[in-house]
Symmetry: D3
Subunit: 243 residues, 6 copies
């Protein structure tokens, strides 16, 4: 099967980190195609950038010609899943929901450790919409800008471990969720340090996407109906912009 994994920011380096993480967890028969949006911010750290990313990912997905079996939206706490689910007939798995559902299977109360405090409200919104906010013991920010994660991995993982430890010891979390696609790859290190399972959203989403395909399950079109045919000015955006 072929799974498309969509980065939400325009930084190719992050797309590559995500792709590697996806490949690592995917079955050997699964092909991973990682894509980067054609416009938007180089890191998504707030609602403005996230809405823009939602549209940029929809725009990018619309350009894909070859068929694929599932889509992973690889931005933690980002907007867009419901729109993608309307546009496509295949499963669309958002890494936020994938991580939360996975954490709930193996523990009682999870905590999210993310990049910047300014994104906490937005992540909380997503968890509330999913229905799993009550099982979230804490939302913590390491106060690391997304792109710094790449630039200084050592200090980054130190800060993340610190917050994860507080989440376990003070907030009562028994599972940690890494709340940023750019943290893909740090799970093992954090897990060793805090001694509770650590869930990475990209890994969780790819695994869930595969499992849905294997069960022949797809997005309910009653929940996410295909858009009605209508006049849409300037869509898709990229060719319109190029135009």
């Amino acid at each position: 099967m072929r799974i498309v994994v969509a980065n939400v920011n325009t930084t190719e380096g992050v797309t590559e980190v995500i792709r590697q993480q996806a490949v690592k967890v995917a079955g050997s028969a699964t092909e991973i195609v990682a894509v980067t949006p054609d416009f938007g911010a180089d890191s998504v750290e707030g609602n403005f950038e996230s809405y823009l990313a939602a549209v940029a990912v929809m725009d990018r997905i619309t350009q894909i010609r070859e068929p694929f079996d599932a889509l992973v939206l690889a931005g933690f706490g980002e907007h867009g899943k419901e729109g993608l689910a309307e546009l496509l007939d295949i499963p669309v798995v958002d890494i936020t929901e994938a991580a939360a559902h996975t954490a709930c299977l193996i523990g009682r109360r999870y905590a999210v450790v993310t990049s910047l405090r300014r994104t906490l409200g937005q992540i909380h919104d997503r968890l509330r919409l999913i229905g799993l906010a009550d099982r979230c013991a804490a939302l913590r920010a390491a106060e690391l800008p997304v792109l710094e994660l790449e630039a200084d991995p050592e200090r980054s993982s130190e800060r993340i471990v610190e917050e994860a430890r507080l989440a376990v010891e003070s907030d009562g979390a028994d599972v940690i969720v890494l709340g940023c696609a750019g943290m893909a790859g740090l799970a093992e290190h954090v897990e060793a340090a805090v001694d509770v399972p650590v869930v990475d959203g990209v890994a969780a989403a790819v695994a869930l996407a595969e499992s849905l395909v294997r069960q022949h399950l797809t997005t309910s079109k009653r929940a996410y109906p295909t858009p009605r045919r209508k006049a849409i000015k300037g869509w898709p955006i990229t060719p319109f912009a190029a135009g």
Copy 2:
């Protein structure tokens, strides 16, 4: 004071309906500026179109040169408020939240009557995020496409009255919310028919925006922090597209 009211679809006729409704409720010293996005769908009836509208409205707002005191987002159940609140320092009032908060002041349980059933999930999401979904007795759709409201106002208001009546008599609603910016102007008629107060989102939002300005209250930047400076490809979209 000057209040900008943003339509979410690209149909100028709807912008005009919204503008008239805004003017009707606004104080005499308030100037209403109604704007239409430069791209997007001619009616917003789903998440794909709504995400696109969120970005198109942010894009349109970015082009406004003269200062204004508050922004009204005139799409019922639509995405975008959190992004606009990040971009601006003034109050941003979404008609969905305005209508729900207003309905709660005058009754116990409100019902929303909207255009199409396909938008109900999205409206429910907004009400959950606001925290007022538990006070919503019912979400009902008249099964009228947004643009048909304009085309056949008589049949439209008949259908809306029918659903409003069911909401009151079967679902226990004691206030009706008209769940579509295009229904602005029908409140009086529906109210006469069902004998409970009927809230129009545009009117409610303009009135609330004015009241916030009068109280010198503005968006909490701690809740909706201004975006960090960063590289954003292709933003704003309109000039980039024109480019």
Copy 3:
């Protein structure tokens, strides 16, 4: 339009503070009539006094002969709104709900800073009934008796700032609500100190009452039906007492 603002305690000085605050936010065409109940406690700081105040306000309102367009119940966390809404056909706005709804429009999570810890349970009850308790980050008491607010305004505002700061920094609030009618007038000072918007209940309620009248919206009588005609001993209380 004419708006009656009802103090809940029998201290005329507090009525005057409330009146001034109401006048400050009201439109120039709005007449504010502030009333004081004929019986009850000189400050309302608990359920016993609050129930008494609810009846005293209903009693006082019953004596008003000239017509008015809206009623503001100016006691934070106090009982009575539902009874007043049954007795009247015009909008009744309670300052607790007004403040909470207003705070939710401009932030994500508000905190209430009130006078005494002994009133916190009661305030929490009101917020739960409104449906906005989940968006309340904290309820904090400055441990200042209501009448001391008037007596020592400097120390009072210092204590309130202290608690407001803790609400923002430790509890994650992004808007502060001043939870006591007697605090009317301190908003500006607190806002300057804590750098998040500060909502005053009296101002919020007057602004909302005006906006409801402007929208021709009134209390849903389906939610708050007019009392049935029946034998009521000793009502209204004041003339019966005088009798």
Copy 4:
């Protein structure tokens, strides 16, 4: 032990019905003292009358000279418990909460069958404050004014059985709560008809009050602190009224 049972309306006949029900369930060593408020409505069917009753009961209780061990507030869905709990050092049990807690011990989801539809919102409010609204399958009204229950017991119990049956068969209730003090004595008849347990609030409250006294448990003064000493005009009301 001595338990005071307070009727909330001024109809002595209802006080007598309540007294008999209380005596029936009380232990042989328990003395029941039933009291009627000195002012207020002859039947309480709404918030205005209920707030008045809350104060009238507090006023009446203040006049009692002999000591007693617990107080039962015998009005279903009425205001007042929190005020009484502040005034007294002994357990105060409200029949609404007593019935709901009792129903939850023996079933999964209870339904309330009350007198008039106009009281449903108020009952719902009490159940939400208690925290047991989620276990309430339905609130149904037999559309019988309180005083008609006494006047035409046969037709009344027929109507109540009808609603109880719908609650069980359509709403999924497995326990019925009789939501009106005036229904005391009908439980057996309804139970025979609908074949699920039927809880009477007065019986439940008296039994719980006795059980609290037996456990030496009393109202938490941390939750319901004694009112501070202060100037209260016209309190208590009865002697003040007597002039």
Copy 5:
């Protein structure tokens, strides 16, 4: 009346502590029969042991030949009530729910102080199922194994007082629930130390069981229907094991 009180562990000493507590609160006409399961753990401190206890109690109850009027399940936070309620036609009262309901009658927010931290999740589950988790201010563990409570009562009650004090002072609890059947008898001591009411589950459950019997209320068989007749291998377990 005769009430059977079932210990959940196999330690006879604990059964005796429970029996004494039950006798103390029971009316003089009530006979208490305390039973110990025939198999299972000598202390129940987790789900594995709790499930085993649920079955061992059902097994033990099945062996009782003389009739009885109510059953008390004397394990705090343990599994089993729903199964017992299906097997019997009389009231079944679990000490967890009894304590929580009782605490809610006399305060606003209770805290549970239990033996070991490892049981907190399980207790939380029970409180959520009952519907009273939202009124729980804190779950605290004294980190005392159940059997140590008996072995070193002095140190035990000291540790419990410490946690109870934190619950009141830091968590805002106004009632304490002793969350372990083995703590029966410590209530008075803790109450003296922390000055809020302290509820003991065994006492609460016995009092509630008596009150249900007195009201002729029994388990709703619509909620907990009697098991269908069917082939059950190895049931009851004790004779099968002996067999």
Copy 6:
């Protein structure tokens, strides 16, 4: 990898149905071992039988000598997961939670169609504990005893389709969950009839178990700590019984 799938009833035929379903969805490198408990009911249709099954499955699992990588608890709405999670160090996936989490990934609101109405309360309890009850649009029973599903598959699937249709059309469900392990294999047929995705719990659980193993995630021992060493009479039960 090797996954043990545990039937909860003692009917070997049902174990075989479950095994086939598990094999169908499992990856080719996964070995499925299906086990049947040594004691308990031939079908589990209530809490008594379910508690017994919980212990019988724990007992059966304790006898397994060869290592395995994950456990699937194949009883819908049954007790036991938390105990198994304490006993084991590997992922334990209950088919109820697996189905609910899976349904939430592909739709907004799912409905459960199960065998008998008497099991609905129990299923609801599990969904509440998981935290996904609010996303459940309806719980419906086909009123088919578990073993009849095998005996008369045609009539069974007809009845299930009927209820599934009502769930979609009247209750607003957009995904159907088959709420009984014995329904494994009917998903395709029901899906064809009602045109929304149909989730089978066994398939979902096996897929999720595999995905957890693939991610190297295991049960959080902080959430489900290994039982302390202690004296346990008569455990495990089977050899003790044989003894």
